[in-house]
């Protein structure tokens, strides 16, 4: 009879997850099963999750922990956090009706942390805090965690001298086994909020205003408002200028590199083509080789001209201007392939007339105007498209860029020189704004002439200008 009962008990118990429960008294076994029912891990997880969502910071979360049914018997939580790398720690003392926060010495934090880490049953009495600068009434349970960003200590106490029951210890350990992920999440959020606050503070105290465009830097999405630090138009132009100058400098560097990297292999091609030309006698091959040879020479002369353009001096004569215009046409070739382009000097005050102008800036202005026209003519598929550059070399100097498209509607005319204004799908809205600011630097200006058909821009430069 005895034996049978035992064997029943055995089969029953063998369904348990933990086989050692075979050896514990049946009363405890029942209690334990009860405990598991009441606070299964997933149940704890859910209640922690709900509490973490409603907590603004870690101390509120600790307060919410006290409302867990698993923590029924606990009255206070001491929470210590040390952000790794910082020279101070922080202590939150939390009861159901109060929260107090204090800075805490980092050495003391470390001593406490080590002591708790070494303890086996995590149970402490008041005497174990001897030598510390804070006090906890009675016995308490403690646990330490090392998270990615922080080391933390949590101490729960009943505020009495009765030692904790095994049930309390089990419940505490159960909660502790899942709570660290929530501590981690909330502390990270705190840290992020702190960083954001620092960014905001820095932004507010910068000597200039900045745009926090969320499209360029997704982290700005966390800032309170998209146009919190919106910039003024005047300053936009300066920024555009800086970008422009950087681009010009980069372009110069790029051209230099290209020149060096291309001229050597091109020279090799030139030499071998010349050599082959001397030996070939087949008509067809000769024609081919002649074409190859002239293509090489054309490439070489493009490279040479560019280098000249970007190093040429600052006084331009009529023929320099003509050369510059032809370079601009070459530069815009990909946009203006089908378009008839012409350059004419309409008026020449006298033979030795010179313009004092930075040729790079001048080229950039003309480039922008020609590209604008070319893109408009192409997108609207204007029949027999045409772009003319006309120069009046008198005082003031006038350089006109005219196309035979539909021109700009009034609405566009009003805004065309404003930075970031564009009618193109992929436009930056900087072309004309940059051109205008360059013209200003040359002591000149660009006007739009709305008379007649087509877009018509005129760049006027003072004869005496010393814009560079």
């Amino acid at each position: 009879m005895e034996d049978q009962r035992n064997s029943f008990a055995k089969t029953d118990d063998s369904n348990e997850v933990e086989p050692q429960s075979l050896r514990v008294p049946s009363g405890y076994s029942r209690l334990k099963r009860e405990l598991q029912k009441r606070s299964s891990i997933s149940g704890i997880f859910q209640s922690l999750e709900a509490r973490s969502k409603n907590s603004a910071d870690i101390s509120e979360f600790c307060q919410a922990l006290l409302t867990l049914k698993e923590f029924d018997s606990f009255k206070t939580i001491h929470f210590f956090k040390h952000e790794k790398g910082q020279s101070f720690a922080v202590k939150h003392e939390v009861a159901l009706d109060s929260i107090s926060t204090k800075d805490f010495h980092v050495n003391e934090f470390n001593t406490l942390y080590q002591r708790i880490k070494k303890s086996k049953n995590r149970t402490f009495g008041q005497e174990s805090l001897k030598g510390f600068t804070f006090d906890i009434l009675g016995t308490f349970l403690a646990r330490e965690f090392s998270l990615d960003t922080h080391n933390i200590i949590i101490i729960v106490s009943r505020n009495d001298f009765l030692s904790q029951t095994q049930l309390e210890r089990d419940l505490f350990n159960k909660v502790m086994s899942v709570v660290s992920a929530f501590f981690d999440k909330i502390l990270r959020k705190e840290l992020e909020a702190q960083q954001l606050q620092n960014i905001q503070l820095a932004l507010e105290h910068l000597p200039f205003q900045v745009e926090t465009s969320t499209s360029a830097r997704p982290e700005f999405k966390r800032l309170p408002s998209d146009n919190f630090y919106q910039i003024k138009t005047e300053q936009t132009l300066d920024k555009a200028d800086i970008f422009h100058q950087e681009r010009i400098a980069l372009l110069g560097e790029l051209l230099n590199t290209l020149k060096h990297e291309l001229s050597n292999p091109l020279f090799g091609l030139q030499l071998s083509a010349e050599l082959l030309l001397m030996d070939l006698d087949d008509e067809d091959n000769l024609t081919f080789m002649n074409e190859i040879s002239s293509s090489i020479k054309r490439s070489q002369s493009i490279i040479a001209n560019f280098t000249e353009l970007y190093t040429s001096n600052e006084t331009l004569r009529a023929k320099d201007l003509e050369k510059l215009a032809s370079e601009v046409f070459t530069l815009t070739k990909s946009e203006s392939r089908q378009i008839k382009k012409s350059f004419h000097i309409q008026e020449l005050e006298h033979e030795d007339f010179v313009i004092n102008a930075n040729s790079v800036w001048l080229a950039q202005i003309l480039f922008n105007l020609v590209v604008n026209s070319a893109q408009a003519l192409n997108s609207l598929q204007i029949p027999s498209p045409e772009i003319q550059i006309k120069a009046y070399l008198k005082n003031p100097v006038e350089i006109h860029v005219i196309d035979n498209g539909p021109g700009a509607p009034e609405e566009v005319m009003k805004n065309m020189f404003s930075p970031f204004y564009t009618t193109k799908e992929k436009g930056t809205g900087l072309g004309l704004a940059i051109s205008q600011s360059l013209a200003k630097k040359l002591n000149g200006k660009i006007d739009y002439i709305s008379k007649g058909q087509g877009a018509h821009f005129v760049l006027k430069l003072d004869y005496e200008n010393t814009g560079c």
Binding site: N264, P265, L266, F267, G268, L271, S272, E274, L275
Partner: protein, 124 residues
């Protein structure tokens, strides 16, 4: 006349070799600066046509090594520098050896080959 062409752009190297051979020179070639140094030490060339930007070392390194065999005056006669990098610093350094410097691409092929084939009449 025996000429060494040190140039790592193969098309330039081979073409120069053939052009110079057509004018009656004996021409050795090298793409490597280090190998060129060995050749200069081993053989007696009447002229070394040397590029500056080689893969392993610079043309200037080649000239420096040649100093162990030749006097400064001989070096200024021996070397003709050819370069696509005609920055002021490079030109200045080249001038310090008192060598002839030819920019690539050559303005005139005929003149360039002429310079390579002739021993220098006098120093400026």
């Amino acid at each position: 006349m025996k000429i060494l062409v040190v140039e790592d752009e193969i098309l330039i190297q081979k073409s120069l070799q053939i052009f110079l051979q057509k004018r009656g020179a004996l021409v050795d070639v090298s793409s490597s600066g280090k190998k060129a140094i060995e050749m200069i030490k081993e053989f007696n060339y009447d002229r070394v046509v040397c590029d500056l930007m080689l893969q392993d070392i610079t043309g200037f390194d080649v000239i420096e090594e040649a100093k162990s065999k030749y006097s400064l005056e001989q070096i200024s006669d021996l070397f003709v520098i050819i370069t696509a990098y005609s920055s002021e610093q490079v030109l200045e350094k080249a001038r310090s050896y008192n060598c002839i410097v030819l920019n690539k691409p050559f303005d005139s092929m005929d003149k360039a080959l002429g310079v390579m084939m002739k021993s220098r009449p006098n120093h400026e």
